[in-house]
Amino acid sequence: MLAENKIEKIEQHLNLLKDKPGALLPLMHAIQDDLGYIPEESYGPISKALRLSVAEVHGFVTFYHHFRTKPAGKHILQICRAESCQSMGSENIESYCKEKLGIDYHETTKDQSITLEPVYCLGNCACSPAVMIDDEVVGRVDKEKIDELIEEAKK
């Protein structure tokens, strides 16, 4: 069961956005920005308000890489896997992060501090390899820089 306050918040976003054209996209962003994820329990009320089937809402959420249906850790660390970063050794950064955190992509550390995600280009290709921690891009990362970021995130 979803906590009462979460249901309330979802209802608030719905009321604010349900009449907007193309409402589903900004609505899902609003819910995820607020709750950190999109609870599957929200599909029912959303589908009712927007006159969609639950399957359509589910299909929408799962189509987009950005949306998650389970809570993430306190911080999200995204590692760019795209070509430019590969040319500057991002594979080493990937394996270093996975090893250091003891998790694979789409997983969260035991202490709930960091969720690791792959990303395909951050538009920081002139400063490869690049990662993003929450909303901040970090360029020309090396192992020391990763250590710093992880240490900061675990505080």
Partner: protein, 516 residues
């Protein structure tokens, strides 16, 4: 007390290298020394190996220092950098730096120079001149100007912008839309991001002019979710434009109304394909649509819609301001004007270069780029994002021109160039192309959805030495099927990098040679 004008960029690549820490250190050092500074957060000039690049206004022009790290700040003050004096990090007069001097910045005229969210700065650097001219013109005259300029879609498809606009103008409808494709997902590209973060008003102006030209009153910027800084700056700029009569009702006292909003995407590469983008904007899964009908006839919510890339739209103001001929005089052949080229990956000097079409890859990689960052030989470059072909050294003399690239089965695309040194395994990159396609395919058509996964398997077999001859044939056949059988460029172009890697670097696949 005299105050000194200092420029510290707020571009997200500069921030990614610590511009914010440099700012804080400069501020506290100035306070400690009792020196008064006026700090302006400008955009980046696009010389990213020199970021954080700090500039100082002097009577001789702006003087640059870089790359500045917080540890350098104290010595910069010791040498009185705020007066433009010499320091080991001195780069001289900014405009005289060769990298900048050798460019033709039209779309990027203001980038790095102005404060991105200062309307005053924008207008004093020719901003909104194009719009003011357009407001005195009939719709057809605006479209004609764009057509005559020879501008082609800078997102990658290179379709003539004027023809697209003409189609929307001719389509009778009570409602039309302008949609800006800001879902810049190609690796090696960041020119859209730089425009949005460093000169957002030029995009806004271009979209208003597009609205005027085709009779649309609503615009959307579909912005990728990986660009939170761009989103914040765009929203700030839109609000300023609204408050100053450039957006909303009766723009600049005319009868024209245009509203604009930013819609944040959700991390699907396929939504950079225009019909998938429209589906997403409508609040659906980003499944590619069948064409026809073209979006220009039946686009967003079934209405005639202009879908243009950020750079295409941001180039409109200067075309209207200086005229079609001015713009068309740059470039070569049917590739008119300039292209903001992005040098990325394994290069000493990476960044943004706006040049007329016609410059060769070699000039870009060595004269601008300074060769590889690692000091090794450049083995290959990928031009035009993850769907672009890999080019080996013997093709580096190809001039940047849509047709010349097409002749060698390559694409200019969005102008992103990623360089790889000789430690790269091209078969890994080829496999990655399929992997990326499998992750990002919308799944609507079979060649793309299934072909991408089968492609990975075939490459693995070739590399493992299993029936190599047969499997190379299968790989080529699969490529053909995807090129001809896919609905859009995602599946239709994924074979380009794969087959080029196979043709030019067979050894990396464990093959002695392969037919080309």
């Amino acid at each position: 007390m005299t105050s000194y004008k200092i420029y510290i960029p707020r571009d997200s690549s500069a921030l990614s290298l610590g511009a914010e820490k440099v700012l804080k250190t400069i501020e506290s050092e100035a306070l400690k020394r009792g020196i008064k500074l006026e700090i302006i957060r400008n955009g980046s000039r696009g010389l990213f190996w020199l970021e954080t690049m700090v500039e100082v206004e002097t009577p001789k022009g702006r003087v640059a220092y870089g790359p500045v790290n917080p540890a350098d700040v104290s010595s910069l003050f010791d040498k009185e950098f705020f007066l433009g004096k010499k320091h080991p990090l001195s780069l001289g007069i900014t405009e005289e730096i060769q990298w900048l001097k050798n460019q033709e910045r039209l779309t990027y005229a203001r980038v790095g120079i102005t404060d991105p969210v200062s309307l005053e700065d924008y207008e004093s650097h020719d901003g909104f001149k194009g719009l003011r001219k357009a407001l005195d013109l009939k719709s057809q005259a605006i479209v004609d100007e764009v057509t005559e300029s020879g501008l082609r879609g800078r997102g990658g498809a290179a379709f003539p912008t004027g023809i697209k606009w003409q189609t929307v103008l001719n389509a009778p409808s009570d409602k039309k839309y302008i949609v800006c494709n800001a879902d810049e997902g190609d690796s090696g590209t960041f020119s859209d991001r730089m425009i949005m973060e460093n000169d957002p008003f030029v995009l806004i102006e271009g979209m208003i002019i597009a609205g005027l030209a085709v009779g649309a009153d609503q615009g959307y910027i579909y912005l990728r979710s990986e660009y939170p800084h761009a989103q914040a700056i765009l929203n700030e700029a839109i609000e300023i434009a609204e408050n100053n009569g450039f957006l909303g009702k009766n723009i600049l006292g005319s009868q024209f109304t245009f509203n604009l909003e930013v819609t944040r995407a959700a991390g699907a590469y396929i939504c950079g394909e225009e019909t998938s983008l429209l589906e997403s904007l409508e609040g659906k899964r980003g499944l590619v649509r069948y064409k026809p009908p073209l979006p220009a006839i039946e686009g967003l919510y079934g209405k005639p819609t202009v879908v243009n890339n950020v750079i295409s739209l941001a180039t409109i103001p200067i075309i209207l301001d200086k005229g079609a001929k001015f713009y068309a005089d740059f470039g070569m052949g049917r590739s008119k004007g300039t292209l903001p080229i992005q040098l990325a990956g394994n290069l000493k000097q990476t960044g943004l270069i706006e040049k007329a079409f016609g410059i060769t890859l070699r000039e870009l990689l060595y004269d601008f780029g300074g060769g590889s960052a690692t000091g090794k030989n450049i083995k290959a470059v990928q031009v035009g994002g993850p769907l672009g072909a890999f080019l080996p050294e013997h093709q580096f003399d190809t001039p940047l021109d849509y047709e010349k690239f097409s002749e060698i089965n390559a694409v200019v695309g969005h102008g992103g160039i990623v360089a790889f040194d000789d430690t790269i395994d091209m078969s890994k990159l080829a496999r990655y192309s399929f992997e990326f396609c499998a992750i990002e395919s919308c799944g609507k058509c079979t060649p793309c959805r299934i072909g991408s996964t089968r492609g990975m398997e075939v490459i693995d077999k070739i590399k493992d030495g299993v029936d190599q001859e047969k499997n190379v044939e299968v790989l080529r056949d699969l490529g053909e099927t995807m090129v001809h059988g896919s609905l859009c460029a995602m599946g239709g172009m994924t074979p380009f990098p794969v087959i080029s890697a196979l043709n030019f670097f067979p050894k990396d696949f464990g093959l002695e040679k392969t037919e080309t």
